[in-house]
Structures are given as structure tokens and as C-alpha cells.
């Protein structure tokens, strides 16, 4: 009697776990949300693919690294600069439409809502290009 109950438990646990795994993996299958297109586009498709692959996994590391370089060493190149990201990925404010970080369509926010990761960059940083920058970037 004792022995069969133990056996039951032993078989039940892996069964439960594997069912759970199936559900979890199903979650990974979901497609990333559609993001708003960048203002500037890369010259070649290859550059674009590389940029997307790198940024999907590493944008937070790139930004943190750049943040400290800028803050403490005054290195203000545009590569991986937060303002440069915003200038390209968030549309410039116009009279009729301003995309803010509280809007779901904001480039950063779309994904961060999807993955439920809180984003506090925009408590301090500008969430949209400055008007004069916007003029320059405009094609």
C-alpha cells in the first residue's frame, strides 16, 4: 500500500512538470509586437538585421555602458547614445500629434508592456526628439 502511493507520487510529479513546460514553451512562441518604424533606415538590409539582433538582446547593456561613459568621462558620441535612439525611433512631435512614453505606440513602451518590464528612463530623460533635432533628422 505504502509503496504504491509513493510510486503514484513519483509518476505524477514529472507528468505535471512536463505539462507545465509545454505551457511555458508555448509562451515563447509568441511573436514580438509590431513596433513603429524608425525615422532613418539603414543603407543595407544586412546592417538592419544585425542592428535588430544586437539591440533585441543587448540594448540594456549598451545603454548602461554608454550611460556611465557619458556621465563620468564625458564621451558623447552618438553610437549607443540614448538621445540618438530616441531621435531615430520616436517620431518628432507635431502640432496634431505627440508620441509620449505613456502611449502604447511609443517604440520603447510597446515591447516593455508586452514583457511587463517597468521602464523608468523617461522619468528624467526626454521621451521624444527635441524640435530642432527633429528638423535635422527629417529626410
Amino acid at each position: 500500500m505504502e509503496c504504491s502511493r509513493l510510486l503514484n507520487r513519483i509518476t505524477l510529479l514529472p507528468a505535471l512538470l512536463s505539462t507545465l513546460m509545454v505551457f511555458l514553451l508555448a509562451g515563447c512562441d509568441s511573436k514580438p509586437p509590431a513596433l513603429m518604424p524608425a525615422v532613418k533606415q539603414f543603407q543595407t538590409e544586412e546592417q538592419k538585421v544585425l542592428h535588430i539582433a544586437d539591440m533585441r538582446t543587448n540594448h540594456m547593456h549598451r545603454l548602461t555602458h554608454k550611460r556611465d561613459e557619458t556621465m563620468y568621462q564625458g564621451i558623447r558620441t552618438t553610437k549607443h547614445s540614448f538621445n540618438a535612439c530616441i531621435d531615430c525611433h520616436v517620431p518628432a512631435p507635431t502640432v496634431s500629434k505627440v508620441v509620449k512614453h505613456t502611449d502604447e505606440e511609443h517604440f520603447c513602451v510597446t515591447c516593455h508592456i508586452e514583457v511587463a518590464v517597468k521602464l523608468d528612463c523617461f522619468q528624467c530623460h526626454a521621451d521624444r526628439p527635441a524640435l530642432e533635432t527633429a528638423e535635422v533628422v527629417k529626410p
Binding site: 550611460r67 561613459e69 556621465m71 563620468y72 568621462q73 564625458g74 564621451i75 558623447r76 558620441t77 538621445n83 530616441i86 509620449k100 523617461f122 522619468q123 528624467c124 530623460h125 526626454a126 521621451d127 521624444r128 526628439p129 527635441a130 533635432t133
Partner: protein
């Protein structure tokens, strides 16, 4: 104050300056000194401790007591107009301080901002290391690690720091400001890194010089070597980066 109004203030300041002073007297602070001399470092190079940035302000030549400089700072950094803060809570990166000589009744006004001390009390007391001095002498707050405890505000003898009390939006890209952190004059560090001068200096070119205090050939060092200058509360021995004439 709206941006338009601030712009007007600066314009008014410039007009008065251009109209009221002769060109020769206006562009030279002292005979033989040239004002513009900031050298750009390459964008990808780190700052160096061979440089120490400083300012020299001649209060006698500030016809408006520094209002134009303050307006330029507000415009550059977007402070002083936080919608939900009371007047006491509003940020003050630069303050206009006026004092009167009891005997002569002569009034002097000067803009007082972060004095970018060599031995800064705010850096000394900061529990997280958020308040720090860059290698080139500019004192900053790293708002990423500032916890908003406001020890630095207590420690600063110049009352130069402010605390942001409310959620802000539409900040200037070059000057991030946000709730729960302390802020102060950063000598327009984004401009300095590009080889430009601070916004306030540009607004009062007849009365203020910006430059490298460590370089004996710079205009500011020459002026200081020749004429000397005052520090506010020199008795504290903080070796400030901002010096004044006429106080």
C-alpha cells in the same frame, strides 16, 4: 515662465547690452584679453584631470544683475517652471543674490549657482556616491544612483542644489531632470564636452569668462593672475571654480 518669455528676456538682455555699451568696451573684459578660448576635446576621448573648468563673473558689468544669465540657464535646462510645485519647491539652478553696502548704499547683484568646489561638501556627504566631481572639476549628480536623500542640499553652503518634487515630462534631451533626484548647475556639461561654453556665459559675454583654470595661457587664468578675484565664502577653503569680480 514660458519659453517665449524666457527668450524675450534674453533678447531684451542682448539688446540692452548691445545698445548700452560701446563695442570696444563690451567685448574685452580687461585690456588684452580675448574671451573665447574653449578647446574641443575629440568626442570619443575621455575628459582629463589636466583641465579644470571655471568661470569668472564681473558683477559690475552685469547691467541686469544676472537676469539674462538666469533666463539662458532656464531655457537651456528647462527648470523653474514645474507645474505642481510651490514657489519654495521650484528648482533654482541659479539664484540672483542682491546685497547692499551699508555705508555707500551701493547695491550689487550676482548670479549664484553651483560653485564647482574643488573639495565639494556635497560630494563629501553623499551616501551613494551620486554626487561626484568629474576629472575636469565639474560637480555633477548622477541621477541614476541618487536616492533623493538631500544631504547634499544641507551640506552646500551656497544653497545651489534643488530637489525635484513632481513627475516631469517633456524634459530637454540635453538635460535630464526627474522626480526624486537632486539637481544643480552642471556648467552645461553637454556643451563643454562639445567644446562650447555654458549657456549663461554666452548670454553675458561682456561680463563672464569661461575657461580652463589649469591652463596658465587661458584668458580666465590670465585675468585671475593679473587681477585676482573673490570666492563666495572663501573662508571655507573650498577652492571654488566660479569666481567673481566686484563683490
Amino acid at each position: 515662465m514660458s519659453e517665449q518669455k524666457q527668450a524675450n528676456l534674453i533678447d531684451r538682455y542682448r539688446r540692452r547690452f548691445l545698445g548700452g555699451l560701446t563695442a570696444a568696451a563690451a567685448v574685452t573684459l580687461a585690456p588684452g584679453l580675448i574671451l573665447r578660448e574653449v578647446q574641443a576635446k575629440p568626442d570619443d576621448q575621455p575628459i582629463s584631470d589636466k583641465v579644470r573648468w571655471g568661470m569668472l563673473i564681473d558683477t559690475n558689468k552685469l547691467s541686469d544683475g544676472g537676469d539674462g544669465m538666469i533666463a539662458a540657464c532656464k531655457k537651456e535646462h528647462g527648470w523653474g517652471n514645474d507645474p505642481h510645485s510651490s514657489p519654495e519647491q521650484q528648482s533654482q539652478w541659479v539664484r540672483k543674490v542682491t546685497f547692499k553696502d551699508k555705508l555707500t548704499k551701493h547695491e550689487t547683484s550676482l548670479p549664484v549657482m553651483c560653485q564647482h568646489c574643488d573639495t565639494a561638501p556635497c560630494v563629501d556627504v553623499c551616501p551613494t556616491g551620486a554626487s561626484f566631481k568629474r576629472d575636469d572639476g565639474i560637480v555633477l549628480v548622477d541621477k541614476h544612483i541618487c536616492i533623493g536623500c538631500r544631504y547634499c542640499m544641507m551640506a552646500c553652503p551656497y544653497k545651489a542644489r534643488s530637489f525635484v518634487h513632481e513627475h516631469l515630462e517633456n524634459q530637454k534631451p540635453q538635460s535630464p531632470r526627474g522626480i526624486g533626484t537632486v539637481e544643480s548647475c552642471n556648467m552645461c556639461v553637454h556643451r563643454v564636452d562639445k567644446g562650447e561654453q555654458s549657456a549663461c556665459i554666452e548670454a553675458a559675454p561682456q561680463a563672464a569668462v569661461f575657461g580652463d583654470l589649469n591652463d596658465p595661457e587661458s584668458a580666465i587664468s590670465k585675468a585671475l593672475a593679473k587681477y585676482g578675484a573673490q570666492q563666495i565664502r572663501a573662508d571655507l577653503g573650498l577652492n571654488t571654480g566660479v569666481r567673481y569680480w566686484g563683490i
